[in-house]
Amino acid sequence: MRLLKSIDLFPKSAENEINYLLSAIYFRIHDKESAITHLKKAYFYKPSKYDYFKELFPLIPKLQVFKKMHTF
């Protein structure tokens, strides 16, 4: 079993957390576009978790930087 396959099996309620994780993974492999897409989704539905995941994954940009990347 691989991690991404396991993600497919997670409940809908965990979707936003998973988007934060996917964003971190894509940042790690330098796929900035995918990273931002997932981060955008994650932040849109669960902005309150941004700081928590930023702390866990320093690869995720600071909120101000991220906001400048996209206009919501």
Partner: protein, 397 residues
């Protein structure tokens, strides 16, 4: 009277065993043989019981009591055909003998013919000495049939005959539990306790029922009464301590666990729980000493080894932590939490090949929750030179 009987029984056993040792032949009357066989059945020595019954039947082939005991032994060994043959012979001669009715019912029960077994047992009337045994067996037959209402009714009737048969009380509670009506259980136990106010088992069961219904204060009172009824009742102290832990009354919980240890020799369960309580109070070194005692008492207590490992991990003694964690993993290698700690320790020790093993083990267990997923992602991002593992794990090219 009882002492006289025991003396008589001891002498017979001694005589029988010395006869077997010396290969000589001694005389026993049929009563003596009966006592010897009953003794061996009670201590669970089926082979000596069989030997005794075989010798007895050679001398007294027409004894009904000895034949009934023979059936009992055959049933123990699941020799149903032979048992049935003997039972039929006795039944033909004496069909109203409650002993043979019970044995016939037992044979039917073993053959899974529970309804017919019940029919047989119902022939035994209230005046018989074996009425109590008969209704208890009927209750058990209903249990086999999963008819908990009828089983409960029988066991309740049984308990009315003998208030202190705890196995019957347990059967009643099992039925209530299977029926799933906790209110009726509580009400039954309260009625029972009105008549038997010093029955510690009933108080204990009432406490457990209250605890199940999250009525913790009531549960504590019930356990208190169990202890008043029998102040050496370890189960009541343990249950009380578990509830006190839930209520965050940690010091009181420790006190109760310690009493339970003082009554009998320490149990790994109580030692471990005391350790956990001390951890909650921040007494980490005391907690460690209890976890070590738990592991000494029960070397396959994986949670104790894990707790010791966690203690050393928090103290940054990673080598010691790993040594203890490996013991936990040897006992149970299917707990994700253990592999998480294994991975964390190896990150600290910079043993990245072992980190990889840890990650793969976690993935292979497949029961990932969001916290594990976060942990794995964090680990994979954190460790250096992990490109292959990263790509393999995420299947990203």
């Amino acid at each position: 009277m009882e002492e006289e009987f025991e003396e008589f029984q001891n002498q017979s056993i001694f005589k029988f065993e010395s006869m077997l040792k010396t290969n000589s032949f001694l005389f026993f009357d049929s009563n003596e043989f009966e006592e010897i066989i009953v003794y061996y059945l009670e201590i669970g020595n089926a082979s000596l019981a069989k030997k005794a019954v075989s010798l007895a039947l050679k001398q007294y082939p027409k004894s009904t009591i000895l034949s009934l005991l023979h059936i009992e032994i055959l049933l123990l060994n699941n020799e149903l055909i032979e048992a049935e043959k003997i039972a039929e012979n006795i039944y033909e001669i004496d069909p109203y003998n409650p002993d043979i009715i019970i044995q016939k019912a037992k044979i039917l029960s073993k053959k899974k013919n529970h309804l017919k077994a019940i029919d047989f047992l119902e022939q035994i009337n209230e005046n018989s000495d074996l009425y109590f045994d008969a209704i208890s067996l009927i209750g058990k037959e209903y249990l086999f049939l999963d008819d908990f209402h009828k089983a409960k009714k029988m066991f309740i009737r049984c308990l009315e005959q003998n208030n202190f048969d705890y196995s019957i009380l347990n059967n009643i509670l099992y039925c209530f539990d299977a029926i799933g009506d906790s209110q009726s259980t509580v009400s039954y136990l309260n009625d029972f306790l009105e008549l038997n106010p010093y029955c510690e088992i009933a108080w204990h069961q009432l406490g457990k029922q209250y605890a199940k219904d999250k009525m913790y204060e009531e549960a504590l009172s019930a356990f208190d009464f169990a202890i008043i009824s029998d102040d050496s009742f370890i189960g009541a102290y343990i249950e009380m301590a578990k509830i006190l832990e839930k209520l965050n009354r940690i010091n009181e919980a420790i006190e109760k666990y310690e009493i339970s240890i003082g009554i009998n020799q320490p149990t790994s369960f109580a030692l471990f729980r005391i350790g956990r309580c001390h951890n909650k109070l921040g007494n980490h070194d005391i907690a460690l000493s209890y976890f070590v005692q738990t592991a000494e008492e029960d070397p396959i207590h994986d949670k104790a080894w894990m707790s010791i490992a966690l203690h050393y991990f928090n103290k940054k003694n990673y080598t010691e932590s790993k040594a203890n964690l490996i013991k936990a993993l040897e006992i149970d290698s299917e707990k994700i939490k253990y592999w998480e700690l294994y991975t964390k320790i190896n990150i600290q020790l910079e043993l990245f090949e072992e980190v990889e093993i840890g990650i793969k083990e976690i993935l292979s267990l497949g029961k990932l929750d969001i916290n594990t997923l976060i942990f794995l992602t964090q680990t994979l991002i954190k460790i250096p030179h992990n490109e292959n593992l990263f790509i393999e794990t995420f299947e990203i090219n």
